[in-house]
């Protein structure tokens, strides 16, 4: 059942302990990630409370339709990631590769839509700097600075995630994972879902704050 060779490291008693240690380590890393993005969220809270009008007005330049679609795409990629873990747990090798590839595809669709949105912002002179649109409120540049830094850091995390998923897909295809050893799939899944959660907060904070006025 354990496959040809179960990669149990000598300092662990059994597979369960090793799995638990890997998961715990990932959560410790994710705690640092929560605080990394937390710093950006705090900056957003401070500046939005200082300039609520400029933030609402600047937010109206973002495309709500594309943002909503992208949220759905990212949630879909979390579903396929969860299913990849399920396939690993139940020993379905082909499904596992399929779901990992689907996760990569959905992640790429998300990044593709993001590129289109960034293109619009450059076109409309909404990128902070010397060529920033003169017809915008004075503090709109702060909103767009936060927009580009937050979505940019989020996108960077997704690019890293896609690379990790590609490595996993190759290893899964070679049969490296089994129902007793699938920690790499599990912890990469934790990372991918965390990146999804960051977007779940970014979406209302960036796209939805100016719609009702």
């Amino acid at each position: 059942m354990a496959g040809d060779a179960y990669p149990l490291k000598h300092h662990f008693d059994d597979p369960a302990q090793q799995t638990h240690a890997a998961t715990l380590g990932m959560w410790a890393f994710l705690a640092t990630e929560v605080l990394f993005f937390g710093g950006l969220f705090t900056a957003y809270a401070v500046y939005r409370s200082s300039y609520p009008g400029a933030f609402a007005e600047a937010s109206r330049h973002l495309d709500v339709t594309l943002g909503t679609i992208n949220t759905g795409v990212l949630i879909g990629s979390s579903l396929t990631m969860a299913l990849a873990v399920w396939a690993a747990q139940t020993g379905r090798r082909r499904d596992q590769v399929l779901y990992l590839v689907l996760t990569i595809l959905l992640g790429s669709v998300f990044l593709g839509i993001k590129v289109v949105e960034y293109g619009h912002k450059f076109h409309e002179h909404l990128v902070p700097g010397p060529h920033f649109s003169g017809s915008e409120p004075a503090h709109a540049q702060i909103f767009f600075s936060l927009y580009f830094v937050m979505t940019g850091m989020h996108a960077l995390h997704m690019v890293i995630g896609i690379v990790l998923l590609a490595i996993l897909a190759v290893r899964a295809g070679r049969g490296r994972f089994s129902p007793v050893y699938y920690s790499p799939v599990e912890v990469t899944g934790l990372y991918w879902h965390f990146v999804d959660i960051v977007w779940i907060f970014l979406f209302p904070m960036l796209y939805l704050i100016g719609l009702h006025a």
Partner: protein, 101 residues
């Protein structure tokens, strides 16, 4: 030897996925209504519900050991310290101006 982790059925994952999509559409729809100061409150509440669904089920914390619960909660605990202490300063500036200013 059985799998070391709890196995959730694909059907249940689909249910969570559907709930997350529904909440996304709900938060977008509500954003068009003018709720005064409650717009951000509602938006962040829905986002928190979505995040909890992802953490508990997609990230398997519901079936994790107590140590995993503590590790998962610790990041958000420190995040709260970061938010509360910072905003205690920024949101209260100017509320109590000294008499001789």
């Amino acid at each position: 030897m059985s799998a070391p982790g709890h196995v959730i059925s694909p059907r249940f994952y689909l249910l969570i996925f559907g709930s997350l999509l529904g909440l996304t559409l709900l938060t977008t729809a509500i954003a068009y209504l003018d709720l005064g100061p409650f717009n951000p409150v509602v938006a962040l509440t829905i986002a928190c519900v979505k995040a909890v669904l992802v953490v508990l089920f997609f990230m398997h914390v519901k079936y994790g050991s107590r140590l995993i619960w503590v590790a998962a909660a610790s990041g958000f605990f420190w995040l709260n310290i970061l938010f509360v202490e910072t905003l205690m300063d920024y949101l209260t500036r100017g509320l109590l101006a000294p008499a001789d200013w």
